[in-house]
């Protein structure tokens, strides 16, 4: 059960601090849980855990590809490993290792990619993963998640621990816009309806959920009723919920902080084109590389703002037959 507390304000806690606290809790409560990192523990709030939990927390150094193999091996002998690095390295740099040593080999591993999309900000294009959702959606039976805020991070990390198979979660390290109360719980594979509506539905993930809420409020002022769904599980897609809101509103706008090639929007549009064809507008990075900049600048540059969502919603509504 979840409670939506969105009012446009940011959470007090950072994603990083909540990640560190939660990982420590997981490790201390389950002796089979393991945590690996590739020299980014100080960046994600887990620094020092390797000293406290010598048998469960392993600093791998700057060896992302090897780390994924080690995680696969740990799983094969009964551990429940999490492996973290920045989302760019946690996806494109290690794709074959995750594909074979984890997913294909059926070693249950949870990979966490931090600083997704434009949230890599001043680390720039090399560190800016726009393609991780697309890459990991292409792995059979993979679970692909984006944590919406720190409240979700705290809850879902614990759910992920016991999930079989390969699970990828991307998450922000800073203060997200608060969407959920701290006692909210979530079910992987089920989208959350944060706001009901009749004219159009936003289906969003990550930082675009709050942006969609903002856009829905703007649209309401113009007499347009927009629903907002937090589709934090990008794969497996909650098809029932998509169908239900496709029928209810007749137009969809998807929104994600990543390349719209192969992402959440592609998943929704493909599903609907085969089952219940209606207008679907995709908000996302339109097949471009990253660059340095503030998140606000980059959101403006790549068209990831509430203003872009409002325009897309109007276009989607206009396309309805």
């Amino acid at each position: 059960m979840f409670t939506c507390i969105y009012n446009g304000e940011k959470e007090k806690k950072t994603g990083k601090s909540v990640f560190g606290e939660t990982m420590q809790k997981i490790i201390s409560e389950d002796p089979k849980a393991a945590y690996l990192d590739a020299d980014l523990m100080n960046s994600i709030g887990t620094w020092g855990l390797e000293e406290k939990f010598k048998n469960q927390v392993f600093q791998c150094g700057i060896q992302e590809a090897h780390m994924m193999g080690v995680a696969g091996g740990l799983a094969a002998v009964g551990m429940k490993p999490f492996a973290h690095t920045f989302a760019s390295f946690a996806s494109r740099r290690v794709f074959d290792q995750v594909f074979i040593s984890i997913a294909y080999a059926q070693n249950s591993v949870r990979v966490i990619g931090s600083d997704p999309g434009i949230q890599a900000a001043y680390n720039g294009g090399t560190h800016m993963p726009f393609e991780d959702i697309c890459l990991y959606r292409a792995i059979p039976h993979a679970t692909v998640i984006e944590f919406t805020d720190a409240a979700m991070t705290a809850s879902l990390l614990q759910v992920m621990k016991d999930r079989p198979g390969f699970t990828y979660a991307r998450m922000g390290r800073k203060n997200s816009v608060a969407v959920y109360s701290e006692d909210s719980t979530f079910e992987i594979g089920k989208g959350n309806v944060l706001r009901d509506g009749n004219d159009v539905t936003f289906i969003a993930c990550g930082m675009m959920v709050a942006e969609s809420m903002k856009a829905a409020i703007e649209l309401e002022k113009e007499g347009i009723s927009a629903a907002v769904i937090d589709m934090f599980t990008i794969k497996p897609l909650d098809e029932d919920l998509v169908t239900s809101y496709a029928k209810q509103t007749g137009a969809i706008v998807t929104a994600e902080n990543g390349n719209y090639v192969g992402g959440l929007g592609a998943a929704v549009a493909t599903f609907l084109s085969e089952t219940y064809p209606i207008p679907v507008m995709r908000i996302g990075i339109k097949d471009l590389f990253g660059q340095v900049g503030s998140v606000d600048f980059l959101a403006e540059f790549y068209g990831l703002t509430a203003k872009d969502l409002v325009a897309a919603a109007k276009k989607a509504i206009a396309l309805k037959k």
Binding site: A34, K54, N55, Q56, F58, C60, G61, Q63, A65, H66, M67, M68, G69, V70, A71, G72, G73, L74, A75, A76, V77, G78, M79, D96, Q97, I100, S101, Y104, A105, Q106, N107
Partner: protein, 274 residues
């Protein structure tokens, strides 16, 4: 008279040939070169129970040069993990014996491999997990010499020493050849023993064609490695045990006629009988 382990190695070679004959092609050279090592491991060294292949306390084996699957399948079948008759399904449609090792298809295979370098890390992860779970099970890994051109091998080499994986032994099948020719010509790995020694592995280098010597060496390494990972560089011959295969210029993956396979099997049987 052959020693029991040499006889086992010859039986493995015969059963590799039975597989290749049924399919008509395969990774023949590199399967033959690692056969004596497999005879030593499964014939003597490893703590295993073929009737309980998922036994939690078993030793683990990872064939990182996953294309040598047929050598491992022959070994496992002869040990009773699955019926010997099944060997004839190698690479047939719907088989449980694919070209490259797959732990979810083949009973007794401990890790899925095939993309070179990756078995190094998964084996290392298994050793790390078993060590920190307080288990006394050991992990044995086979790397190819060509495989050592993969950077991931050296990431593993650094990590295994740093994490003091004294429950871990790697064999390097130093057969000097890879798909396109000789390792020395393609991208020379020079002296791998020297390299692993410099990575602080307990390293020895021995001829790789004598399973009894391999057993003796493993015992010595385990008595002396302490908290270092062990490296046993096996100087082998790609195609070992079948001269015609050795003589093929590029013998990594070759076709094989039923007549040739039968001839090789006959010669191996004759060798076994002395």
């Amino acid at each position: 008279m052959l020693t029991p382990l040499k006889e086992f190695a010859t039986q493995i070679r015969i059963h590799e040939m039975i597989q290749f004959k049924a399919r008509g092609f395969g990774h023949i050279g590199g399967s033959l070169s690692i056969t004596d090592c497999l005879a030593a491991l499964y014939g003597e060294i490893m703590r295993i129970d073929p009737k309980n292949p998922q036994w939690e306390d078993r030793d683990r084996f990872v064939m990182s040069k996953g294309h040598a699957g047929p050598a491992l399948y022959a070994t496992l079948a002869l040990k009773g993990y699955f019926p010997i008759e099944e060997l004839k399904t190698l690479n047939q449609n719907g088989t449980r014996l694919p070209s490259h090792c797959d732990k979810n298809l083949t009973i007794g295979v401990d890790m899925t491999t095939g993309s070179l370098g990756q078995g190094a890390s998964t084996a290392c992860g298994m050793a790390l997990g078993l060590k920190h779970a307080g288990k006394d099970a050991r992990v044995y890994l086979v790397l190819g010499d060509g495989e050592c051109q993969e950077g991931q091998v050296w990431e593993m080499a650094l990590f295994a020493a740093h994490h003091k994986l004294g429950n871990f032994i790697t064999f390097l099948d130093n057969n000097k050849r890879q798909l396109d020719g000789f390792v020395v010509d393609i991208n020379n790995i020079e002296d791998p023993a020297e390299k692993f020694r410099s990575f602080h592995w307990y390293t020895v280098r021995i001829p790789g064609d004598d399973p009894d010597l391999i057993v003796k060496t493993v015992r010595e390494v385990q008595a002396n490695q302490g908290d270092k990972p062990g490296m046993i560089v096996l100087d082998t011959v790609k195609g070992a045990g079948v001269q015609d295969v050795i003589d093929i210029k590029l013998n990594h993956h070759t076709s094989i006629s039923a007549e040739d396979a039968d001839r090789y099997i006959e010669a191996l049987e004759a060798y076994m009988k002395g």
